[in-house]
Assembly symmetry: C2
């Protein structure tokens, strides 16, 4: 038996609705976490922040409770769909956990990775659309610099 089988690592894979994160997960399942492993694979999905500051003074910016509930429902549906797809990919792994966070993915991923006691964080190289990335920088770059554990960034081949 290889030394490998003795390992019990906690590996967090940050997933979102993009193809790149599913590719990163698949790559991780082929190269890092194996069928017979004792590793725990933690799928982490971060929902966008809830709409902020519903204002009763400025009617043009009011977000009604009903609208907020709809946004929240849609956001939960997206989360469920992403986690379902990801879980299907992991059906040979004995120890899979799912976590859902909410907020700026850069902060949430770094904080939860630490709270979850991760030995490694795996993620796709993007995680925002092109425009948001131009303003905020890439989520993976931020996490590579700020997460407390080693970070594996997987790009989807073009």
């Amino acid at each position: 038996m290889s030394e490998f089988a003795e390992n019990e690592r906690r590996i967090v894979v940050a997933i979102d609705e993009g193809d790149e994160s599913m590719y990163a997960l698949s790559w991780c399942l082929k190269n890092i976490v194996f069928e017979n492993s004792k590793d725990t694979l933690i799928l982490l999905y971060v929902k966008p922040p809830a709409p902020l500051f519903p204002s009763f003074d400025a009617p043009e910016f009011v977000i009604t409770a009903e609208a907020m509930a709809k946004i929240e429902k849609y956001s939960q549906e997206v989360a469920d769909r992403v986690l379902e797809t990801a879980t299907r990919l992991c059906n040979n792994i004995p120890n899979v956990e799912m976590k859902v966070g909410q907020g700026d993915p850069r902060d949430v991923i770094c904080e939860m990775t630490q709270k979850l006691g991760a030995d490694m964080l795996v993620m796709g190289s993007h995680g925002y659309g092109t425009i948001k990335r131009a303003f905020l920088g890439s989520v993976s770059n931020y996490c590579a610099q700020n997460a407390k554990c080693p970070v594996l960034i997987v790009k989807k081949p073009k």
Copy 2:
């Protein structure tokens, strides 16, 4: 036998004279490449670029052939020392190769990773000193964005 033992991956570890890159190598040996593996571990060291443009017209900038030879000799000694330390860490790994490049580490690491057909690149999170990093950005960020294969960035815990 786990699926792991079937793998024959080519894993490049970029090393330099810093503690962080040796930590990244050790972490990789505990978590990614195992004793009995068929993986090939490629240690890549990048020497700084040779002094450019020795000029015969501007005496204040002349770098004599003798000075260049000294710089080159020193740079080779550093490379040998780093590779020797790294090789000692890998004494349980059957397939270890060493490669030395020269130039800007950002470009050389990305180019050689591709030429060597790497399945993964492992590196410490730095690779320049503080001041150079402020101007050039971190080598690992650059490689995470530009290398063609997945990149694992390992930070040394403080």
